[in-house]
């Protein structure tokens, strides 16, 4: 079933600030197999010029989709989750995320389009600190296989 184009332009706010912890950064870095001390050791991070341990580049995937689950599950959108795959992912960074950051974001359904038999939905999240400093933007394209057929 084609996705409902009325959702294009809708925005969703993060439910609550996401507190970035050293423990979570270390856990995520370990899970991707990356032993870089800048992810694990505060002293190494500070020696490299960072305020604290920094998060690996793909870390925003951990939190940036919170708050949009309800939107994607809205029956009016018409998304069949069983047929969803991750199509593309992109990050643009203003600065690295580091432990101690308190992050909020606004997610926007930027585009819905058909490519062949598939439906593509682009979700952009603009991430900033609670004090309003821009941190990064994430672009998540999900594909509903067969949705446009």
């Amino acid at each position: 079933m084609p996705l409902n184009r009325d959702f294009v332009g809708r925005t969703y706010e993060s439910p609550a600030p996401y507190e970035v912890s050293r423990v979570k950064i270390g856990e995520f870095a370990t899970a991707i197999g990356d032993a870089n001390p800048i992810y694990h050791d505060r002293r190494a991070a500070v020696a490299a010029g960072h305020p604290d341990v920094v998060a690996p580049p793909t870390f925003p995937i951990v939190f940036s989709l919170f708050g949009t689950g309800d939107a994607l599950a809205d029956p009016d959108l018409g998304l069949n989750f069983a047929m969803v795959v991750h199509g593309e992912q992109r990050f643009e960074y203003e600065r690295p995320i580091h432990a101690g950051d308190e992050l909020v974001w606004t997610s926007t359904v930027e585009e819905i389009r058909s490519v062949g038999r598939n439906e593509f939905l682009t979700l952009r999240s603009d991430v900033s600190t609670t004090s309003g400093e821009p941190v990064c933007r994430t672009y998540n394209i999900i594909v509903e296989r067969g949705g446009a057929a």
Partner: protein, 142 residues
């Protein structure tokens, strides 16, 4: 924060040697826990086959994370990556054995930009498949 690679020492077209990354079932379970993505296609063979997949497949974001690891290991600082994007073009099938699958990543410095930034394009393969396409990072060098 500073990359250890110097902009003036990098040439357009320069190759970054391939690195192999192993991915086994336990790595996917650990990544599921750390990322919060518990989609059963990434850990449950019965479920994966029921939805038409050949076997359990790796999270696309796991493969993407190996790509950024490749770039940050080359550049010397995770903070040097200013942009990073990929398209997931094929699956990484992870069998239930001790070897799992292998993701082989290599890179090329495609372009030198202003402000000491370079564009690195990545090639990521697993088995006979190219698992990422349009994989590129913009990196701030020193």
């Amino acid at each position: 924060m500073a990359a250890t690679v110097k902009y003036d020492e990098v040439e357009t077209g320069q190759k970054i040697p391939a690195v192999e990354y192993r991915v086994r079932r336990v790595d996917l379970v650990r990544y599921a826990g750390a990322s919060g993505d518990f989609n059963p296609i990434h850990w449950n063979e019965r479920h994966a086959k029921a939805v038409g997949l050949p076997d359990v497949i790796a999270h696309g974001m796991y493969t993407m994370a190996q790509g950024s690891r490749f770039v940050t290991d080359w550049a010397g600082d995770p903070g040097a990556v200013v942009e990073y994007g990929v398209r997931f073009s094929s699956m990484v099938v992870v069998p239930d054995d001790d070897n799992g699958a292998t993701i082989t990543i290599s890179g090329v410095v495609e372009d030198k930009r202003e402000d000491k930034r370079v564009v690195v394009t990545l090639t990521a393969r697993s088995g006979d498949s190219r698992v990422l396409s349009k994989a590129r990072a913009v990196v701030q060098l020193s």
